[in-house]
């Protein structure tokens, strides 16, 4: 658990982060959203002490982050930034090995770990280990950046606009990959982003920041349904909030009995937004839902979707 207590950051007159307190559960993804200048990156950078706090305390797993040298603290956390910051004079393998080397792991252990990570990120080790960063595509560079951050098996991963430099198609894939990897590793991830859709897609909980203050810290649904501040409403946008709400709901959680008369099947992991889209596209009012094994486990119809997307 990460406990941020009354943390502030001031530069002379200006307050960039103002008395922020929040508790982050281990093993979850939290996104920090806000416009530029909201203090979201500063808040993240105070956790690995790239920026010094002016006031307050941060505790990670019961340990004050100030109780150890900053370099040691950082080696136990992953850090991913926009534009990935890969070392251009080191190969992919050397980049990934950065933190294990700083921690003086054995060479054979490092090599094993590097290959394991390349596999995890769908980069064929033999083909990619000895390439230079500039020989990779943007999406591949981004994956190497994340692999490098995960190399020493940190329990906490800090990401500052990690997908900011990617085009929309690769971006979506990278987001999906991050979710998969978080589920596999069970680590805690903090993502700073200005993209509301990204924040909602990734997050277990979303922290909305504005002018250095934490306006709301809640599950994505809560932020849509019970925004605590006009700014949260503005940030999420009102025109498609029903659709946003539907995109957060999974088909498997809104099942009615199977209707054998219906031909159409959709997967249980689909969001209600996807279901609505598919129904509209085909001009039918109902679909069956199948599980991963292809068995029908229930159905969903339009009235059900309307109910799920309604203001509460």
């Amino acid at each position: 658990m990460i406990s941020i207590r009354q943390v502030s950051k001031r530069y002379q007159e200006t307050t960039v982060v103002d008395q922020v307190s929040m508790e982050i559960e281990s093993g979850t993804i939290t996104t920090i959203v806000g416009t530029s200048g909201s203090g979201k990156s500063t808040l993240l950078r105070m956790i690995n002490r790239l920026t010094d706090m002016s006031e307050g305390e941060i505790w990670i797993e019961g340990r004050n982050i100030m109780s150890q040298p900053a370099t040691e603290l950082r080696r136990r956390m992953g850090y991913v930034i926009q534009g990935n910051g890969l070392f251009p004079h080191r190969t992919v393998a050397e980049n990934i090995a950065t933190v294990p080397k700083l921690l003086q792991w054995q060479a054979s252990t490092i090599q094993e770990r590097v290959y394991e990570l390349l596999d995890l990120f769908d980069l064929e080790p033999k083909q990619y280990a000895h390439k230079w960063p500039h020989q990779l595509s943007g999406g591949q560079q981004q994956r190497v950046g994340v692999a490098r951050a995960l190399a020493a098996r940190p329990q906490l991963l800090l990401m500052d606009e990690p997908f900011g430099a990617l085009d929309p198609v690769i971006r979506h894939k990278a987001q999906e990959d991050l979710l998969t990897i978080q589920q596999q590793l069970g680590i805690t991830i903090l993502v700073v982003t200005h993209d509301m859709d990204e924040a909602f897609l990734l997050a277990d909980k979303v922290a909305v920041m504005h002018d250095g203050k934490l306006l709301q810290y809640a599950a994505p649904e809560d932020i849509l349904v019970n925004p605590s501040d006009p700014f949260c409403v503005q940030l999420t946008g009102t025109s498609d909030r029903a659709l946003k709400l539907l995109s957060l709901a999974k088909a498997k959680d809104h099942l009615q009995p199977v209707n054998e008369a219906i031909e159409l099947d959709m997967p249980a992991e689909a969001s209600l937004r996807d279901v609505l889209s598919e129904l509209t596209w085909r001009g039918v009012p109902i679909t069956n839902i199948i599980n991963a094994q292809g068995q029908r486990i229930g159905s969903i119809d339009l009235p059900q979707i309307l109910k799920a997307g309604q203001a509460r």
Binding site: L50, T71, R75, I81, G85, P88, L102, W132, G145
Partner: protein
Amino acid sequence: MNRIGAYWPWLVRLVVLLLFLALVFKPYWFETLFAPLAPKGAAVIYPQDSLASLTGQHLELVLVSLVVSALLGVSAGIGVTRPSGLEFLPLARAIANIGQTFPPVAVLALAVSAVGFGAYPTLIALALYGLLPIFENTVAGVKQVPYAVLDAADGMGMSASQRLWGVELPLALPLILEGIKVATVINIGTATIGSTVAAKCLGEVIIAGLLVNNMAYVLQGGLIVGLMAVLIYDLLGLMQSFLVQRLGLSAQVA
């Protein structure tokens, strides 16, 4: 580029190198070539000292002074780009600039009064002269390392010295080499004036030629110095482009 085309630069390099070696070690091969330039009855090839040993001493002067200015210039350049040294940047810049703008002859004269005649005053003048390009290029090289790379290095938990040796210097190296390259070429030429204060070098041949009005001496001294500068500049350039290519830095440095 076709296959033959790719070999051209190497062929030129080989010819220049052979010409240089021949001039240095077998100057008598060129006697007939230089003869028209020498006064009647005078020696055509400089007889006082072997050209090979003068060339060696010339190179030694350049090399030693270069090591000094590289050590000083690079460490000063690193120093003023550290957070604690930032305020010294204008001062260090001013000092390096003075070293460059002061005429080397004046530095020589001043140095002679301090350390006497011989190689030392020449070394001082050359070292001062090479300081500026190396210092300025080190500063520029360290400063052009992208912010994201430095932020990543810090975020990974590198200490200040790990970041310097592992990230900043390797990435600044192509530009530092550029500075050393420029300083080398300047100093190969400038070293010739060292012979006015009795330093052994190729300037001796040129100045002797001017004194006795023997253009053959001037030409052979000048040719060797010139070819030496071209060859060393080219060699350093090759090293530099190899580095740049290897690091994939071409976009930043070119």
